[in-house]
Subunit: 371 residues, 4 copies
């Protein structure tokens, strides 16, 4: 594979360029793992097509000289609303893995969400980003382990927990199955390495590996309520598409939600996340709402904010950028997004993130909102 770059060539002018360049820097099985979606990949495909359906109506001559991308998420003021999504196993593409990603977050004042499945322990990752860090939590089959993860996150200085609930079953994508499945042996979830493996579940003759296997241990509302009570940190739920879920979760006391279809890696029959955003926002009033799954430019960020998001998360592009040029790549990729967002705001006459929420949005040829 090609060596990581130490400078950014002019050909890398967009996240699409990063994606196209990345393949030569990444092992084919890892590439299948990163790029694939679940099942027939229609949720993945929906994400790719979704943003192009939306257009926004700009306004002229508005004063933007005091403009800013600052945004408040829960209790934190961020310099900009572009968040590094939790992405597992970054060692697949770079030896320093999440350490480099954290350095990029630090250099660009970006909120980083560290994954339970990071290939570097959370205690190490967080030292490399002086800014805001959140910890992404997967409930573990054994509550003691979950509890320990939370305690470690609190002790290390993470300021919120983002619990992912849309992937109670984890499967290999068809792309990865065709490659023979499986990650390389040296790729591990560093945060979990010292815990005992869960007992293998015994499945009866007519029982299902999915239902009587995995789902017997899947998280429940009781687990979520326990978490909210147990942890001092605010809890954000990742993976919400259904407005009913959004409402119920906020009623349980979560501090925010992420509208997401897990980058097309969870429920393959799901809509694009962005297509669910406006209905969720309408249901939850002023609650903290993030969105991910398919954001690939600062214009996509703008559209997501116009449709009601407070911030967006960026997943696969951080892996592409990490593979190409480590921290430098990730920082440049984030800077491209932020620059494009600022240009979009100026062009549309929006001096603040709040003003974006008043921009009229079309989908196809109808208004989603008139604002």
């Amino acid at each position: 594979m090609t060596q990581h770059l130490t400078h950014i060539p002019p050909e890398l002018a967009s996240l699409a360029d990063y994606e196209q360049f990345a393949e030569q820097f990444i092992d084919p099985a890892a590439w299948a793992y990163i790029q694939g979606g679940s099942g027939d990949e229609r949720a993945l495909q929906n994400n790719c097509n979704a943003f192009a359906k939306y257009q926004c109506l700009p306004s002229l001559l508005r004063p933007c000289g005091e403009g800013t991308t600052e945004v408040r998420l829960i209790d934190t003021v961020l310099r900009h609303p572009i968040v590094l999504a939790p992405v597992a196993y970054q060692k697949l593409v770079h030896d320093l893995a999440e350490i480099e990603t954290a350095r990029a977050a630090d250099a660009t004042d970006s909120l980083m969400v560290s994954s339970t499945l990071a290939s570097v322990p959370m205690e190490e990752v967080i030292t490399h980003n002086k800014g805001t860090n959140w910890f992404q939590l997967y409930f573990q089959p054994d509550r003691d382990i979950t509890q320990d993860l939370v305690a470690r996150a609190e002790a290390s200085g993470f300021s919120a927990l983002m619990v992912t609930l849309d992937a109670p079953v984890q499967t290999f994508s068809r792309r990865l199955m065709r490659k023979g499945c499986g990650l390389p042996a040296d790729i591990t979830a560093a945060n979990l390495i010292n815990y005992a493996q869960p007992e293998p579940v015994e499945i009866g003759r007519y029982e299902s590996r999915v239902f009587q296997g995995v789902m017997r241990k899947a998280p429940t509302f009781a687990d979520l309520e326990w978490l909210i009570n147990y942890s001092k940190l605010p809890v954000i739920v990742k993976g919400v598409l259904n407005p009913n879920d959004a409402e119920r979760l906020l009623g349980c006391g979560v501090s925010g939600i992420v509208v997401s279809n897990h980058g097309g890696r969870a429920f393959a029959a799901a809509p694009a996340a962005i297509d669910c955003l406006a209905a969720v926002r309408e249901r939850v009033g002023d609650a903290c709402v993030l969105v991910d799954s398919g954001v690939r430019s600062g214009y996509d960020v703008f559209k997501a904010l116009a449709l009601g998001a407070d911030a967006v998360m960026i997943g696969r592009p951080q892996v592409h950028a990490l593979a190409i040029a480590g921290a430098l790549g990730v920082a440049h990729m984030l800077q491209l997004l932020r620059d494009e967002l600022e240009v979009a705001m100026a062009m549309a006459g929006c001096a603040t993130i709040d003003e974006i929420k008043r921009v009229p949005v079309w989908k196809g040829d109808d208004y989603v909102n008139r604002n």
Copy 2:
């Protein structure tokens, strides 16, 4: 042609993979026969495009540990709702033909529907599947023959009759016409081989081979009513798209219907079957409704159930799998579908088939139902 495989390579991770691999295992004229649709193939094309238009909204944190794919069809409880559709002339792709398919049904607890036009006699096929078997009936021009087919099906242990009514005319597809038409001489309808051939119909100078030829012998409501009275077995009608037809048929005493455009092999101007499903379900209340034509993944199965089907039938993919690896292939193909269905149910928070019917479905960007 390539020899049948005796193991499943990792490249066969989906029904799309099976379709792509199958061509090298099948004679080109047979391939044209299998893959072709009627007329301009727009009904076939509609099927291909239809499922991608639908999306389903999942729900989080629902308990699925007791989950099951069990479903009751008429009087039978099935372990899962994925049915082997009646497919004619399977000897085109495998010497053991429907025997291998029946073995796959047996191994995967799948309901199999045997075709009138099978290349192995029904009495032989049924011995290879200890589970539930239905017999697909084409009305014969001579009622005595039809009556004999029914009697044989009852005597052999089939537990229902599925009568196909959407193809009163059988034509060659354009693909097959371009290959010079016709099936190989050794491919016969084994169930019919001992009956006298019908008298050739004489057509007048200005008469039509279609109307005054074939359609003079086509089945009528009187034939259907005769069948319902004559047979002890429940009668399911295959090939319904029009809600008015569905209502009238149930009024006649049929026990169920299959929403189907015959895999695009009958009326070429027809909509996709899945596009007709919700309107049919709305009209027929709790009646037994199956759907086929275009189901190519467990996610498609999930969507079909969410739109109101009790079960789905799988046609061409069983031929692809049979050609590649006989019973092993068909069983693996069915297992892929069932695994994907279970994963989809777990992801969407559905512990039972009935719960799927309460999932909100979008088409394009509008709700088909809100459930």
Copy 3:
């Protein structure tokens, strides 16, 4: 160029096959002339895409043994509703030109409409089709000539006049302009060859060749009313898209209209003709309505009838078939259409053309009518 065929190979199983095969039988400039549309060819493109948007809902078990494709147009009963559209300059693709086309009409009981711009005189063409013949009329700048054309048509035995009104300006398509424009010198409008050429129009410095040139001589309502009064024959107007026009024309005394965008060869910003049909039919009650522009299969014929047409006209495909195999080709092409129409009717449970008009039609996912 390839010699005309004397038998029909199995590869010619549809009108699409005819189109694909035809190119090798036709001179490139003639091919550009035949295939091209006006302007940006979007009207042509609209025609190509339009039929696929429509689907029809079949009905089961309807008696069709007495089925027939007979249809009454104005005062004539035709064996089937598939009409040979007027197509100019058929000598471009076959030395015998319209004579062969007339022979094909004769062999297939098809109504043929002979063009003013035929390369064989109308008096000769009509002798080759014992069935019904109509004459397509372009108003000539000089009324005496128009009058003479009408008198000749009446004298020769044509039973109706189809006057084309949607192309007051005739331009070369961009495809033909790129080939250097112009038809070969030996290709002439045989019906017009003995008339004096119109005086060239003088155009002032700031006048327009279109408005002050061509359009000063373009037909008016007065011309149409003159024609209706002057001729004993019924007058059908070709080229109607606007329901207001349809209503006004019928008020003037025309006997029928053809919903047509001239195969995409006239107003380039026009919708597909089939997309205009239902609205026109709704406005004109039981008046005689034909449609052309994009009919390429018997299923398209079925859709056109379901949307309200009494008959359809076939343009470019007759040229493709003529080029490939003369009268034999045209007859086979017409037979393919008729066979497909009969199969479609049988499949959909329609025993008569009138019953097709009661078939529910979808466009996209909405009903155009519920019938």
Copy 4:
């Protein structure tokens, strides 16, 4: 690069042909500059797809012998409504640059709008077009300079000012960034060459180059009001998409607006301009409205007028034509548009530009207006 042509070959039969031919006459970096759009180029893509969605319903037999394309814009009667949009830096493709373009305007009685960023001084450009000339104004950071530009435009004989307000930030397209950015050193804005460069802005540690850099100097409503008062000339605002902006601008005293997304070069999340036109027209009554962005044929011109524009502007195609054949190319390109417009009018039965505004328009399958 290829030499400019001195005659027009038959292959140049449309603006699409010009675009395709142009690439071989233009340096690759200049080509990237000309063809590129801002950001993810979705606004550019929207323009390309937009016109094909619209269709117009023609009317038959209307008298057009006195037809004319004359149109009144503000106080000037133009022979036709096809305007040369302001396009910067035309020296990129031709040494004589805007001089040749002006000659083409002169030869074709076309209104030309000269750009602030022209590569030839306005005083020189205007001498080559005896017809109507407008001056396109970018507000300069220093008002004295803006004032001088206006004074020069008035003194030179320009009869209106078109002030562009949709691009307060000017960025390089990704295409140009990938080429290493930047225009050749000999390409300059000749109108600005004698003015002092603006002071470079100092940006604080956490300030934004966009907001605290460029936007502090961006024009405001106060600037626009100053301009309207200061100049004797009517002021037209270019770059309006939002009907609210249109209404407010007319309230300020502007004399007309241009519905435009700057050819996809400004706000990348914007709709196609043509998709905004009907709503703007509905809001502004009889005010002067032009449209640009994606007009590529006389049929597009027709559609734009039917949707409510008084005139259209042509941008990139003038550069393509200039590159290929200088003034001759631009004149021929304009003549193609005008010829196509006249043909379209004649075909649709419109003798005047005003009559086009009463033509019913479809978008997809719905009426935009019924007129």
